[in-house]
Symmetry: C2
Subunit: 333 residues, 2 copies
């Protein structure tokens, strides 16, 4: 079998760059092609000791490409997806354009790797806040069966791309510099809006967390209450989560499950000031989980509270996509 | 009747300074005395056109004082409280030392002003996050009767005093400068701990929100689930809150109630990007409330979600204390 040819579409953005790094770290044996807009064409990046020059993404770019890692925004992705399909390239797509399409598996490899095999050319990478929450919760869901989750997020500015990072870095020095990625200043502030609002006042990000969680867990009845908030943090999303379960919860059992849960690091010793924090999870592939406790507002004992943090550019995007890629390669062998 | 003599104990701290400003703004007709530790004695502050020199707080300081506004930490407050009582000075105390004492009314003037009259020399000012949440929720509680609240907070560094502010201001310039008010860096980070943890992993701040809410609303059965988080914001606490009610909730009715709720400003037009943000509430006495919506995770229609922000040094501390003072003066007249 000849070497796989892998492409990154949107190679120069924050997620595309992280995908490149993840492919390198995980020693993925492949020919790599990097695509971006004409503005970025000609830039070069090192990969496995070779220099790879970014090419402009065009209709014929995907000829002889086996797998595409998509790291472009929805509108751009929708434009090039037919080009990839024409050349039978399998796409692992980080945009939200195809996530809820019934023909597109939506995959977190720690949770539903079996869905990868049902793909018809596209596999979708979930929303970052959804990945972080579900990796934290999955073992608890298997044990106690979560039927309702109540989530408040604390989301880093890098979730809005390089512009968001620049805004925060500029504004902490000079708060009068206007935001380019946000509707308001973000330094020393927070913004309870991520994405547009629907007619019921629910933001896009909040809907993603509901609908993508239902799809990944194959539970259309999962109840999700979510408030998504942008905070002045550079990297790593945090989430305060209450889960209500069909089974009574047991905190010792929950800790035991999380100790050995794939993709999770249990950081839960509050007496010794050990709990998840975004500075600690930045540039890490693991989701940190802690502050585990029974929910004192549920006298039936079926609810618990936890706090989790994860790097939304790594596990929330690039790492998850490359894990899907690895599973895909393994399935093909 | 001769002019009232009012004292601020702890006059040089963040809350004491804000009390001074609130007394000035509200044109409280009084003789004012300022007390602090020996280190601050001799500093002078302007009040109603006069210069007032800070005196060292001593056992005989409260002679001829009618009302004391207490703005010192618990241990200091416990030390001087008997001195105030010896001289029959009425104390409005911002520390948490006496808040749950059954002989001490715990008062938010918009909610339970009638409790002021039951005082036996001490009236307690509630915890800042509790005041902000309950001012936001009180009219909804009266209408729909809240039996459970699920709260995640986003609390500003000034809640930890002047040191907390300095930490953030220093660390955004140089992240290697260690924190003095927090166990970890706070710039570009968050810390899911405010106060010590009990054996169930619940922090002091989280317990305050539960127990003080129960006392203020005179509802010992109120169910409270709370996660308190310190965020890199200078001023104003924010809270993401879900309430579950005995009555079915109606969002239009909720908006109508909040439009005319005392101490509240409704900022709730997400389509036009109008929602509460801490930069907007800083140095304001009103609690901003918005992002009102039905809780999609409660199919019974008894729950709703909202987001609120309030200046924790003003309404969360100094303003509330001075409002109690005003009610006390009015009752005496």
């Amino acid at each position: 079998m000849s070497k796989l040819t892998i492409a990154i579409a949107g190679a120069t953005g924050a997620v595309g760059q992280q995908m490149l790094q993840c492919l390198e770290e995980r020693k993925i044996d492949c020919e790599l092609r990097l695509f971006a807009s004409y503005r970025s064409a000609g830039k070069a990046f090192s990969f496995q000791g070779k220099e790879i020059v970014v090419e402009e993404l065009k209709e014929e770019s995907f000829e002889n490409i086996d797998i595409v890692l998509g790291a472009t925004e929805n509108d751009i992705t929708k434009k090039w997806m037919p080009w990839a399909q024409k050349h039978h390239a399998v796409v692992i797509d980080n945009s939200s354009a195809y996530r809820l399409d019934p023909n597109v598996p939506l995959v977190i490899p720690e949770i539903n790797p079996e869905d990868i095999q049902k793909h018809q050319g596209i596999i979708a990478n979930p929303n970052c806040a959804t990945i972080i929450a579900l990796v934290a919760l999955n073992q608890l869901h298997q044990e106690f069966h979560i039927h309702r989750m109540i989530v408040s997020t604390y989301q880093a500015v890098s979730g809005a791309g390089v512009k968001g990072v620049k805004d925060l870095e500029n504004q902490v020095k000079d708060p009068s510099i206007p935001s380019t990625a946000f509707p308001y200043p973000i330094a020393f502030n927070l913004i309870p809006q991520i994405g547009d609002f629907d007619e019921n006042g629910i933001s896009k990000e909040e809907w993603k967390l509901q609908n993508e969680s239902r799809k990944i867990w194959h539970d259309p009845n999962l109840l999700v209450n979510c408030t998504c908030v942008r905070v002045p943090i550079l990297r790593s999303h945090s989430e305060s989560i209450t889960i209500e379960c069909d089974q009574p919860v047991n905190i010792d059992k929950a800790r035991e499950l999380l100790e050995s849960a794939e993709g999770v690091k249990l950081v839960d010793d509050p007496q010794n000031q050990q709990y998840p924090m975004p500075l600690d999870t930045s540039d890490q592939d693991l989701v940190f989980v802690g502050r585990l406790r029974k929910d004192p507002s549920d006298p039936t004992g079926h609810s618990m509270i936890l706090f989790c943090c994860g790097d939304q550019i790594r596990k929330g995007a690039a790492t998850n996509a490359v894990q899907i890629l690895q599973a895909l390669i393994q399935n093909q062998n």
